[in-house]
Symmetry: C2
């Protein structure tokens, strides 16, 4: 998506060889015009997938999933993230490891919000090592629902998350795929 | 807002004399149609306030602030919440106590996203004891910006947060004000 790539180049800040900050328009301050156009781009790509739910994990995915839900006219669901595994009978849960925060989290979705009849489109702001997305896929499988694809705002194509998710048979559609950060500059795939 | 009140009566679950769960349409699964109509209701009320930013705190406020930002055509900002006070020079920070979680949090907003020229409309999903909202107001004051009002989805009018915020000179507009929970039923003000 050209508008997103341009925005990354103008407003993104490359902190080191792995970290891109996009907090001025994506995940701390949010440009809702851009967010809506991204929702539209995801819808244009996935509109035949028959999604009955769109699912993300808190926090940064919430604005994205809301924009997508508006186009699909289906409920948005976000998984809750807790610092430690708490067994709660009425929740689907999966453990994930955050490399950014260097700790494990449990992500949870209430059983009432995913059923075997659901077709679930996954979304997130970033895809790097794939832990969050694989955790969401795990939860969708537990519920008996079908994961019908994954929409990602920014994929770090130099990390293995995209391959792991695609190898699991899930289509991944990323609006911007980053090949590398070189000398503080973003190079797209 | 009649649609919201009806939805609370049909889909809300009163767990005890203080807790109302609205996770099927507001803060875990989200009904985006309702969310947009709530954004519109806030806009209709506050449209003359001259807001240049809309501000909330993660997590449950994010969907609300996004809907509002769409009507005002201004950036949405959400404060980040961390478990402990970490002094970071480039952030405005305030400490708040969560009665739901029985622990203190630090909420933070990057200094780049609030300036003395900003007029900031605050939003959140719930107002009970007012800790989150008072923390946000503290942060807005630190930045030199003006807090121009607070839009709340559900105010528990039997707790003192609404009075504390109004006594601080901030207009609070709540789409549903709950007087009490009696025998598992919601009574509106």
């Amino acid at each position: 998506m050209d508008e997103l790539k341009k925005r990354i180049l103008t407003d993104g800040r490359v902190l080191n060889s792995h970290v891109l900050k996009v907090d001025s328009f994506l995940n701390h301050q949010i440009d809702m015009g851009l967010m809506d156009r991204m929702g539209r781009a995801f819808f244009d790509h996935f509109k035949e997938c028959g999604a009955t739910k769109v699912l993300t994990v808190e926090t940064s995915g919430i604005a994205v999933v809301c924009s997508l839900a508006r186009y699909f006219h289906v409920p948005a669901v976000f998984a809750r993230k807790t610092p430690s595994l708490t067994t709660v009978d009425d929740q689907y849960a999966a453990e994930i490891f955050s490399f950014t925060k260097q700790r494990a989290f449990t992500i949870m979705v209430n059983r009432r919000f995913l059923t075997p009849d659901d077709r679930v489109l996954l979304v997130d702001d970033f895809l790097a090592k794939g832990q969050a997305l694989l955790g969401l896929i795990n939860i969708v499988h537990q519920s008996g629902a079908d994961p019908v694809g994954a929409g990602i705002v920014i994929e770090k194509a130099f990390q293995d998350g995209g391959s792991l998710v695609r190898d699991a048979g899930i289509e991944v559609y990323s609006l911007a795929r980053i090949a590398s950060f070189e000398n503080g500059k973003v190079l797209f795939s």
